[in-house]
Symmetry: C2
Subunit: 246 residues, 2 copies
């Protein structure tokens, strides 16, 4: 048995998400089909985690097994020739059968991109969340500081019941807000994230930036451990799975 690790980049705009859904195409499904076309083998591709509908990955990592070995360089070229242009294989590596894309990951980084301008240039519309109202970046930075660390993030997940087995405590090692001209980037790093957690964190930070929620309330909301309407889920187009570390 040969285990392969692949590093994949994708534009999530036209997909129903990483995993096979009832409607629409999934990234995972496209990869499995391409591998089958190339090798003839029906495989299951395991990602480091799911990304939702419309969410992108600069670098997603996945693994799968093949009975017959396949040259990694040929694999990469072949898969890229078969796959649609919005999914690219950046790297193919043969790894130890102990390697597991999700369980072996030690940390993950997401980046949420906001374009804070009057008009959204058409060329960025798929990759940036457009906020017209001028955001107070300092307030956002202040709120972010309250959220960093090991906490119960139940107030920042779309469906806390989905994760009862592992609980809702996560270690958010980094949550930073950076302004680069008209662009505001939220960098979130941690060992793991709850369902829609990054978009919920971004949602609250945007509300804080808009002046709708005082930065200090981030602490109160966090400690409430209850999801309320004060924490909206930010739009998917601005979100990128940035990197997965092993």
């Amino acid at each position: 048995m040969n285990r392969y690790k692949i590093t994949v980049s994708y534009d999530g705009t036209d997909y129903a998400g990483w995993q096979v859904q009832l409607n629409g195409f999934a990234i995972q499904e496209s990869l499995e089909k391409a591998i089958q076309t190339l090798t003839g083998a029906k495989v299951k591709v395991h990602g480091s985690g799911r990304t939702d509908q419309g969410v992108h990955a600069r670098m997603q990592v996945a693994h799968f097994d093949l009975e017959n070995p396949f040259k990694t360089s040929v694999f990469k070229k072949g898969l890229n020739a078969i796959l649609p242009r919005d999914i690219r294989i950046l790297k193919v590596e043969m790894v130890d059968p102990q390697f597991h894309a999700r369980r072996s990951a030690v940390s993950k980084e997401y980046r949420y991109f906001i374009l804070n301008t009057e008009i959204m240039p058409p060329f960025l519309r798929r990759y940036r969340t457009h906020i017209r109202k001028k955001l107070d970046v300092n307030a956002m930075k202040k709120a972010a500081k309250y959220l960093v660390g090991k906490h119960d993030f139940a107030a920042f997940t779309a469906n806390p019941n989905r994760v009862v087995d592992r609980g809702t405590i996560r270690n958010l090692t980094r949550l930073e807000v950076i302004k680069r001209g008209a662009e505001i980037v939220i960098i979130a790093r941690g060992e793991g994230f709850l369902y829609k957690m990054v978009r919920s964190l971004a949602g609250l930070l945007i509300r804080v930036g808009e002046g709708a929620v005082p930065p200090e309330d981030a602490k109160i909301i966090l400690h409430s451990r209850e999801r309320t309407a004060r924490v909206p889920t930010a739009l998917p187009e601005g979100l990128f799975l940035w990197r997965v570390d092993y």
Copy 2:
């Protein structure tokens, strides 16, 4: 009669081009429909020139007339609310009825973007032409120098007969090749361009960069005034109408 000048930005990927074609949607048509929805008036939108299927505009300029005046700020907001997100109105101005988007233009600039990497990131695939083979940028720069100036560009148009009325002589005031990391940008500026002229210039420069045509041959090809297979039309996705000056 009130004449309006609009500055428009669009992602040409999903359009049949600027002008109404037999198949597919056109940018011009989308603008005319949006203006009609907003004002109730059936207008004809005149662009500074056409862009082909799949070609983008960072800044295209057009004009149209309305019998009843309309506040420009309301116009901009209203049109952007109606138009699809891949077409944005950057500016609306009331202008002298003598102003003509095509005839009043004194110069136009196009930029052709090449990404010279092994793998094309999915997020750039709509806006960059992907060339895998390492291009010799110095050879491209050298070839470009032969082409600058007032010449008969018959060898660089897809259909010289379409322009018999104005001939095939054009003044190419700037043709520059710039390398920025993995990106190569071809900047073409002139008073006017022939049909598919920029993509033909880019097509030859790419061939030169690939080593398939010696840079000196650019001169010979230009002077031949005959379109041959040595000058391919480069793909549309890398081309942007960059600006129109009046």
